[in-house]
C-alpha cells in the first residue's frame, strides 16, 4: 500500500515485507502489530499538534492567554497511556524473541549448514552431506534449516530478508539462524554489517528447492569430476590450474595440489549461477575478466590479477565452466 503510494512497481526480490519462512513470518507479524500501533499514535499526536497550531494561532483582538502552569491529572494520563500501548508491543515482542532465538534443539530431519563469512564472500559447509560451496545456499522447502555461523576475518552479517532477519557472524563465536522455508524460489540477500572495501559487493542467494530438486543438487555436488577428454581445451585448463597460483587459495577435489582454503571451493564452480560473491552472472566472459583482474571488478578483492595469456585464460575458463 505504502509502496503503491510511492509510485514504485516491483518486484522487490530483497524485501523484508514478503516473508517466505516461519522466522520471516514471525518477525513480519510482530512488525505489523507495532507498525499499526505506531500509525495510531502518529495520527493522534500529529493530529493534536496540527489542531493546536491552527486553533491557537494568534488572532487580532484575542485576550492574553491564561498562564496555565500544569495539570497533574493530564500528566498522569499521558504517562500511563503510552505505557499501556508499550505493553501491547512488549508482550508479543518477548514471545517472538524466544521463538526466533534459533537455539532450540534441532528437530529430526533438519538440515544443518555451517556459514562462514569471508571478505567478501560466503562459504557454506554441509557437514552431514560433505558438501562445500560458496555464495549460493541450497536448502529444501518445508524442512527445518539451522545455520551455524562464524567469520574467518571481520564481522559480517548474514541476511536473506525473504527468509527472516539477519544475524552477525564473528571470529571465535558461533551465531545461529533457524528457519523453515515455505515456498520454493530464489531469494536475494547480502552482508548487512559494514565489513570493508567491498561490503556492498558481498551478496548471496538462497535457492529454496523442492525435495527432489534439492536431492538432485546434492548428488551433483557430491559427484566426481567428469572425465576430461585427452587433448581438449578443458584438459589444458586443468593442467594449467594445477600449476598456477590458483591452488594456493582454492580447493578442487580431484586435484591433489589444489588444497587452498582462503578462497571459495571451486569443485563444482560451474554449477553456480553467479560469481565473485554473487555479484556477476557465471558466464565465460565475466569469468575471464574476473580471473584476469578481480580487483578491477570488485574493489579490494583479495584475489590478485592473474597475468595469463589469452589462450591460457580461455583454457582455464573452459575448465572451470566444466566443473558442473
Amino acid at each position: 500500500m505504502l509502496l503503491s503510494a510511492a509510485g514504485c512497481g516491483g518486484p522487490f526480490p530483497q524485501s523484508t515485507l514478503a516473508p517466505k519462512s516461519d522466522f520471516g513470518v514471525a518477525v513480519d507479524q510482530l512488525f505489523t502489530t507495532i507498525f499499526w500501533w505506531a500509525v495510531v499514535v502518529f495520527v493522534i499526536v500529529e493530529g493534536l499538534l496540527l489542531f493546536t497550531i491552527v486553533r491557537y494561532r494568534r488572532r487580532a483582538g484575542a485576550p492574553e492567554p491564561k498562564g496555565l502552569h500544569g495539570h497533574t491529572a493530564l500528566e498522569i494520563g499521558w504517562t500511563l497511556a503510552p505505557a499501556l500501548i508499550l505493553v501491547f508491543i512488549a508482550v508479543p515482542t518477548m514471545r517472538t524473541i524466544f521463538a526466533t532465538a534459533g537455539r532450540a534443539p534441532l528437530p529430526p530431519g533438519a538440515l544443518r549448514v555451517q556459514v562462514i563469512g569471508h571478505q567478501w564472500w560466503w562459504e557454506y559447509r554441509y557437514p552431514d552431506l560433505g558438501i562445500v560451496t560458496a555464495n549460493e545456499l541450497h536448502v529444501p522447502v518445508t524442512t527445518p534449516v539451522q545455520l551455524d555461523m562464524t567469520s574467518a576475518d571481520v564481522i559480517h552479517s548474514f541476511w536473506a530478508p525473504g527468509l527472516g532477519g539477519k544475524r552477525d557472524v564473528m571470529q571465535g563465536r558461533t551465531s545461529h539462524i533457524a528457519f523453515t522455508a515455505d515456498s520454493t524460489g530464489e531469494y536475494l540477500g547480502q552482508c548487512a554489517e559494514f565489513c570493508g572495501a567491498s561490503h556492498a559487493n558481498m551478496r548471496l542467494r538462497v535457492f529454496v528447492q523442492s525435495d527432489t530438486a534439492f536431492q538432485a543438487w546434492v548428488s551433483r555436488q557430491r559427484s566426481a569430476p567428469a572425465p576430461v577428454a585427452k587433448g581438449s581445451l578443458v584438459e589444458r585448463g586443468r593442467d594449467l590450474f594445477g600449476r598456477s597460483a590458483c591452488i594456493a587459495c582454492h580447493t578442487i577435489e580431484g586435484i591433489p595440489q589444489a588444497r587452498g582454503t582462503v578462497g571459495p571451493n571451486l569443485t563444482h564452480v560451474g554449477s553456480r549461477t553467479t560469481l565473485a560473491g554473487a555479484l556477476f552472472p557465471n558466464t565465460a566472459d565475466y569469468l575471464r575478466r574476473w580471473i584476469a583482474n578481480a580487483p578491477s571488478l570488485k574493489p579490494g578483492s583479495l584475489m590478485p590479477p592473474m597475468p595469463l595469456e589469452g589462450a591460457d585464460l580461455a583454457a582455464l575458463v573452459a575448465y572451470l565452466q566444466s566443473l558442473q
Binding site: 505504502l2 509502496l3 510511492a6 514504485c8 516491483g10 522487490f12 530483497q14 524485501s15 523484508t16 515485507l17 513480519d28 512488525f31 507495532i34 507498525f35 505506531a38 499514535v41 502518529f42 499526536v45 493534536l48 497550531i53 491557537y56 494561532r57 494568534r58 492574553e64 492567554p65 491564561k66 496555565l68 502552569h69 500544569g70 495539570h71 499521558w78 504517562t79 508499550l86 508491543i89 512488549a90 515482542t93 517472538t96 526466533t100 532465538a101 564481522i155 552479517s157 532477519g165 539477519k166 544475524r167 552477525d168 571470529q171 571465535g172 563465536r173 551465531s175 536475494l188 547480502q190 548487512a192 554489517e193 559494514f194 570493508g196 567491498s198 556492498a200 559487493n201 551478496r203 579490494g300
Partner: protein, 596 residues
C-alpha cells in the same frame, strides 16, 4: 584579531564555536551530498568503494562530533551565563581551551582528506573509513593497515578532551554561578537540559576514551583487546562504544529539547506547561539513556534474555520522551501562537521528532530489528531524530537567539523560505529511506543492484538532500545580509521571559551591570518580582572588572595535535614535544595572574 585569539569572554567563544561548527556542518553536508549523488542511481557517479567508505565515515563523525555537539556548545557558551545571570562561565580560560582543542581536533580529523601524499598515497585515501562506530575487528591493524583509523582514534581522543573540559565547566557554572534567588527549580529549561547533557558528557566520554585507548594500544603496540585470534573480543568494543554511543544520542537531542522548551512558551505567550515534569523527564531520560545501549547490538546474538531486557528498557524511555511532547503541545494549547521562523522550526522539531521516536519503537523490538538494523530504515530513523530533531531545534535556537548574539534579527521572509525548503527537503530525503530499507537496501553500500527495485526511492532521497542543500544556502544568505541589513533587535525582540532579554543585544562584555535578583521562574513575565537594573546603576559598569585574555589556553591546546601528529607519523620526539608544549602551557596558565 589578537583579542579573538586570547579571548576568555564566553560570548566571543560562543561565536567562535558557532562559526567553526557551522563550517564543519557545511563540510559534513557536502559529504552527504556526494553520498546522495552516488546513490541516486544504481550505477552511481563513479565514487570508488574506498572513497565512499571515507565519505560516510567522515559524514557521521563530522556531524556528531564537529557539527551538532559544538553547535549546541555555541548556545551553551553564549546563552547559559546570560540565562542564569552570570558575568561569565566558572572557568573562562578552560572554556577557551575547550574551544581551541575542539578546533584543532576537527582540523586534525579533516586533515586526513589531504594527508595522503605524506603517507605515499593519494588524496582521499587516508581519511577514516571504518564507520563512525569503528567496529572492531575491522579497525585492527590486520584489516585496516593504513593511517585511516589512526586519524579517527587520535582525533576523537582530542575532541573528547574538549568535551570533558567544557562539561565540567558548565556543570560548575550552572550549579554555582546562578544569580541570587535562581533556585534550581527556577532554572530555565534550556539551562536544565544543558546541565543534564553535561553530566552525560562527563560520564559517557570517559567510556569511549577507554575504548579508543585500548584500540590505540592494539594498533600501535600490538595488544589484542579486540583481536579474537589473540584472545580479545570484538563484542567488547561494541559494548564500550554503545555504552558511550547511546548516552551520546541524548547528548545530541537534550540541548535541542531545551531550546524548543524556551521557544514554544515565548511565541505562545504561555509559560511552559508542566515545567517540573519536563525537567524531571529530561533528568530521567539522562539516567535511562545509560540502560539501553545493547539495543544497537540485537543482531550480534547476545541471547534472548539480554535482548528482552534491553528491549524493555528501550521501550520505557519512550515514556518520558512522550511526556515531553505532550507538555510541549499543551504549552501551545490555549496560547496566542506567533509563527516566527524560530517557532516554525520548534513546531517542526516536534512533528519530525514524533516520527523518529515512533520508528525508534519499531526497532526497540529485537525480532523486528533483525530485519531493520543496518538498513536504510535505520538511516531514516536517525535522520528524523538528529536532523528532524536536533538540527531543526538548533535552527530554532539560531533564529531565536541570533538577535541577542548580534543585535540584529535574521530576515523572517528568508527564514520562512529556509524553513519551508528544509522541511520539504528533509521529508523527501529521509522518508523514502524507510521504504528502501524495508525493501532490502543495507546501509554503508556505495552501490546497489538495480534489480532490488529501490532506484526511484533513492532518486527521491537525493532530490530531497539537494533541497536541504539549497535551504542551507538560503540560511547562509540570511546570515550574510543580516550583518548589515538586519533589523535592530533591541533588548528583547520577542517578549521573552528569561534573563538574557533584560540586557542589551549584543550584551556588554560584563553582561549585567548589576547582577539581578530572581524571584520567579519567568522573571520577565512577572516583572514586579524582578528587582532588575535599578535606576542609575548604569554608571557602575565602568568599575566592573572584565578579565583580560590569555594565550595559554590556546598554546596548551596546541600540544594535543602535536602529540597526535607525532603518534600518527611514528615520531616519538614529536609526541614528547607536544607533551612539553602542553606542560609548559598548563604551568604558565596556572601561574598567570588572572582575576574573574
Amino acid at each position: 584579531m589578537k583579542t579573538w585569539l586570547t579571548t576568555t569572554d564566553h560570548k566571543r567563544i560562543g561565536l567562535l564555536y558557532f562559526w567553526t561548527a557551522f563550517v564543519f556542518f557545511l563540510m559534513g553536508g557536502l559529504e552527504a551530498l556526494v553520498i546522495r549523488a552516488q546513490l541516486a542511481s544504481p550505477a552511481g557517479i563513479g565514487v570508488s568503494a574506498e572513497a565512499y567508505n571515507q565519505l560516510f565515515t567522515m559524514h557521521g563523525t563530522t556531524m556528531v562530533f564537529l557539527a551538532l555537539m559544538p553547535l549546541s556548545a555555541a548556545f551553551f557558551n553564549y546563552i547559559i551565563p546570560l540565562q542564569i545571570g552570570a558575568r561569565d562561565v566558572a572557568f573562562p580560560r578552560l572554556n577557551a581551551f575547550s574551544y581551541w582543542v575542539f578546533l584543532l581536533g576537527g582540523l586534525f580529523l579533516n586533515a586526513s582528506f589531504v594527508a595522503g601524499p605524506l603517507f605515499g598515497a593519494g588524496t582521499l585515501s587516508v581519511a577514516p573509513d571504518g564507520g563512525w562506530f569503528g567496529y572492531a575487528n575491522l579497525t585492527s591493524k590486520q584489516f585496516s593497515p593504513g593511517p585511516n583509523i589512526d586519524f579517527w582514534l587520535l582525533g576523537l581522543q582530542i575532541l573528547g578532551i574538549a568535551s570533558l573540559a567544557a562539561g565540567f565547566n558548565f556543570i560548575v557554572t550552572i550549579l554555582n554561578l546562578r544569580a541570587p534567588g535562581m533556585k534550581m527549580m527556577r532554572l530555565p529549561v534550556f539551562s536544565w537540559m544543558t546541565l543534564v547533557t553535561q553530566f552525560l558528557v562527563i560520564t559517557a566520554f570517559p567510556v569511549i576514551t577507554v575504548a579508543l585507548v585500548l584500540l590505540m594500544f592494539d594498533r600501535f603496540f600490538g595488544t589484542h583487546f579486540f583481536v579474537p585470534a589473540g584472545g580479545g573480543d570484538p563484542i567488547l568494543w561494541q559494548h564500550l562504544f554503545w555504552l558511550f554511543g547511546h548516552p551520546e544520542v541524548y547528548i545530541l537531542i537534550l540541548p535541542a529539547m531545551g531550546i524548543v522548551s524556551e521557544v514554544l512558551p515565548t511565541f505562545s505567550r504561555k509559560p511552559l506547561f508542566g515545567y517540573t515534569v519536563v525537567v524531571y523527564s529530561g533528568v530521567l531520560i539522562g539516567f535511562m539513556g545509560w540502560g539501553v545501549w545493547s539495543h544497537h547490538m540485537f543482531a550480534a546474538g547476545l541471547g534472548p534474555i539480554a535482548d528482552s531486557v534491553f528491549s524493555a528498557t528501550t521501550m520505557l524511555i519512550a515514556i518520558p520522551t512522550g511526556v515531553k511532547i505532550f507538555n510541549w503541545i499543551a504549552t501551545m494549547w490555549g496560547g496566542q501562537i506567533r509563527f516566527t521562523t524560530a517557532m516554525l522550526f520548534a513546531v517542526g522539531f516536534i512533528g519530525m521528532f514524533i516520527i523518529g521516536g515512533l520508528s525508534g519503537v519499531t526497532h526497540a523490538s529485537p525480532p523486528a530489528d533483525l530485519q531493520q538494523t543496518d538498513t536504510y530504515y535505520v538511516v531514516a530513523h536517525i535522520h528524523y531524530v538528529l536532523f528532524g530533531g536536533t538540527m531543526l531545534g538548533l535552527f530554532a535556537g539560531m533564529y531565536y537567539w541570533w538577535p541577542k548574539m548580534t543585535g540584529r534579527r535574521l530576515s523572517e521572509a528568508l527564514g520562512k523560505w529556509h524553513f519551508g525548503l528544509t522541511f520539504v527537503g528533509m521529508n523527501l530525503a529521509f522518508f523514502p529511506m524507510h521504504l528502501s530499507g524495508l525493501l532490502g537496501m543495507p546501509r554503508r553500500i556505495y552501490t546497489y543492484p538495480a534489480e532490488l527495485g529501490v532506484a526511484q526511492l533513492n532518486l527521491v532521497s537525493t532530490i530531497g538532500a539537494m533541497l536541504i542543500g539549497v535551504s542551507v544556502l538560503v540560511f547562509m544568505w540570511n546570515l550574510w545580509r543580516t550583518r548589515t541589513r538586519g533589523e535592530a533587535a533591541g533588548n528583547d525582540p520577542w517578549g521573552g521571559a528569561t534573563l538574557e532579554w533584560t540586557i542589551p543585544s549584543p550584551p556588554p562584555p560584563h553582561n549585567f551591570d548589576v547582577i539581578p535578583t530572581v524571584a520567579s521562574r519567568l522573571p520577565r513575565w512577572t516583572s514586579t518580582q524582578l528587582r532588575a537594573i535599578p535606576e542609575g546603576a548604569e554608571g557602575k559598569a565602568a568599575h566592573i572588572h572584565v578579565p583580560g585574555g590569555s594565550w595559554w589556553p590556546m598554546i596548551t591546546a596546541f600540544g594535543l595535535p602535536v602529540m597526535a601528529v607525532g603518534a600518527i607519523s611514528h615520531q616519538l620526539w614529536l609526541v614528547f614535544a607536544g607533551v612539553a608544549v602542553a606542560i609548559v602551557g598548563i604551568y604558565r596558565w596556572a601561574y598567570e595572574p588572572f582575576e574573574v
